[in-house]
């Protein structure tokens, strides 16, 4: 409780284009949150694994060994082999690359679409706003996963198309968030002041309003990443996500669960990987939210 009280005292509306103290405060609070730190460490490790997958993986992910199919974990294959005799550990390592790419890449698209739409909608107001909010509401009402699945079946499987499908459906939340922030901030006195000093439309929006709306946007992004990772895993699970032979955790679970009776290791290890990743991002996201903007809790 006391932590929340301190944080509320941080003057968000104070005019500071580079509010370094707010961010430094946030980082300090974040570091005190043990779960968030643990989550952050796991995420950092996963990123390293994803970047250096080529050096870490003991075998190429496509290398089949038809003499040794569906083997349990052993010294040769630490996590066993899959139904084509491929090394599970190597495939898991490359799977991390897919998950991280999707998590971050899709967010870039989401932000690029969502923030401008939300900001314009909130700033211009009037009929534009009404039209955009209606559109956002309609998008919101449609079950998102269903929409993504339909889009994916239209575009075909593949990494690029996953970006597009998640981006096209995911911007709604961030647009709403941005719009609400812009609406609140544009009424503040310092905006009037800036306008009186002759700041134009784009300068007002980009230099004065958006920096002050940044905290909730950052929080939305941190929660958007695990959602994108989840979406990719779900898509690959039902077979409309990543194209084989590129490994993805969701796809490995999907293929492995058919043999769960006989070869449990096939789907258990990727499942653990997905679970740990999702939990890490959730803890980290919770920590970021609490640290930056306790009011959102």
């Amino acid at each position: 409780m006391s932590r929340a009280a301190i944080a509320v005292a941080v003057p968000v509306e104070e005019r500071r284009p580079r509010s370094s103290s707010l961010w430094r405060d946030g980082v300090r609070r974040l570091r005190r949150n043990k779960l968030a730190v643990a989550g952050g460490i796991v995420i950092a490790l996963l990123c390293l694994v994803a970047i250096f997958a080529d050096f870490l993986a003991p075998l190429p992910y496509t290398k089949s060994n038809f003499g040794r199919l569906n083997e349990s974990p052993s010294r040769d294959f630490p996590l066993g082999t899959d139904q084509l005799g491929r090394d599970l550990l190597s495939r898991m390592i490359y799977g991390a690359r897919v998950s991280m790419l999707v998590g971050l890449g899709a967010q870039v698209i989401v932000v690029l679409i969502g923030v401008p739409i939300g900001a314009l909608s909130g700033y211009i107001g009037g009929r534009t706003d009404m039209f955009l909010t209606r559109f956002i509401d309609v998008m919101y009402a449609f079950p998102r996963l269903l929409f993504v699945i339909l889009l994916m079946s239209m575009l075909g499987a593949g990494l690029m198309n996953i970006f597009i499908a998640i981006g096209l459906t995911g911007w709604v939340g961030i647009a709403r968030q941005t719009r609400a922030q812009v609406l609140a901030i544009k009424e503040k006195e310092f905006i009037d002041g800036a306008r009186a000093l002759g700041a134009g439309f784009s300068r007002l929006l980009i230099r004065h309003i958006l920096p002050n709306a940044l905290t909730p946007i950052v929080v939305t992004i941190t929660f958007g990443i695990p959602e994108a990772i989840f979406t990719e895993a779900a898509l690959s699970f039902i077979g409309v996500g990543i194209n084989p032979p590129t490994p993805s955790w969701g796809q490995m679970v999907g293929e492995g669960q058919q043999y769960i009776r006989s070869y449990w290791h096939l789907c258990v290890f990727p499942s653990i990987a997905i679970a740990v990743t999702m939990l890490s991002f959730t803890f980290f996201g919770d920590g970021v939210r609490d640290a930056l903007d306790p009011k959102l809790k």
Binding site: S153, W264, A275
Partner: protein, 290 residues
């Protein structure tokens, strides 16, 4: 919504008559043309859509492209009750479990129960349900052989899919209940109720619970959607012969009538449920009027 789905599906590259489609034999162009005429695929799109709409209103979705001997309506009628049963069991479990956890967490704030329910809620929300399903199978079918790994024959088969489907909405409900209970517990009227000398239980059940419900009810709409889409994965893993599993199969087989029918059924169902939820607010909270 029907139009959107229809257009998206037909814009999809590949057709059910395409020789590369899964399980199809290469056909001569003449045979393809005949088949297209038979299924009405040779007509212009708007005409196809109109035919589809007029028939759909009468509950006739045509034949499935994959299961050629059965009409889509037959499949839906057969599979929808199964999905509905699974969905409502999961939702029931989620609501009962979520409320209990949330209330316990709020009453024992920052003590044992609170931590248990908050961590359960976090796991339920964060971990995808097909991953949970795998863990459940490992735990309760292999390590402790209590339940079968799949199928839908007896109530014993129902347990694991229901839990797997229920955990995510349960976590969300528990979080919300906890938050709104904490707020209500500190409200003035709760203090008044206590000051009147009421015991802990009447205060919780009569004064706080009803008010804490309201924000939770808002969640029920999205919850139906979550259980609906979640059933694709859970039904696939546990081999439940429900609508979700057929949807996944028809997705890869480009079974247009089947996809349309499933999406429409979900859509209509969700719309009705959202209406019910809206009406529920009024019942729970007399302050809301229409």
């Amino acid at each position: 919504m029907a139009l959107v789905t229809f257009l998206v599906m037909h814009a999809t590259p590949g057709s059910p008559l395409d020789p590369v489609a899964e399980g199809a034999n290469p056909l001569s162009p003449e045979a393809q043309k005949n088949l297209a005429a038979h299924y009405g695929l040779d007509r212009p799109l708007y005409e196809q859509f109109w035919i589809f709409l007029t028939k759909a209103v009468r509950g006739d979705f045509g034949n499935s492209f994959v299961y050629k001997t059965r009409t889509v309506s037959e499949i839906i009628v057969q599979t929808f009750p199964i999905s509905l049963l699974l969905g409502s069991m999961a939702l029931g479990l989620a609501i009962v479990g979520g409320l209990t956890l949330g209330i316990l967490a709020a009453i024992y704030q920052n003590r044992g129960w609170d931590y248990i329910s908050v961590s359960l809620a976090t796991v339920g929300v964060a971990v995808p349900n097909f991953v949970l399903a795998v863990f459940l199978i490992i735990l309760f079918s292999f390590i402790v052989p209590l339940f079968p790994t799949g199928g839908w024959e007896s109530p014993r088969n129902w347990v694991l899919p229901t839990i797997a489907l229920a955990l995510a909405p349960m976590g969300i409900i528990a979080r919300f209940t906890r938050a709104s209970m904490l707020e209500v517990i500190r409200a003035d009227y709760t203090l008044t109720a206590r000051a009147k000398g009421l015991g802990e239980l009447p205060v919780i059940f009569k004064h706080t619970l009803r008010n804490a419900f309201i924000p939770v009810v808002t969640l029920l709409g999205p919850m139906f959607a979550a259980v609906g889409t979640g059933s694709f994965f859970v039904e696939s893993i546990f081999r439940v012969p429900g609508m979700g599993r057929f949807f996944v199969i028809s997705m890869t087989g480009r079974d247009y009538p089947m996809i349309m029918a499933v999406v429409l059924t979900y859509g209509v169902f969700l719309a009705v449920m959202n209406l019910v939820v809206d009406l529920l607010y009024g019942v729970l909270d007399p302050r809301i009027r229409y």
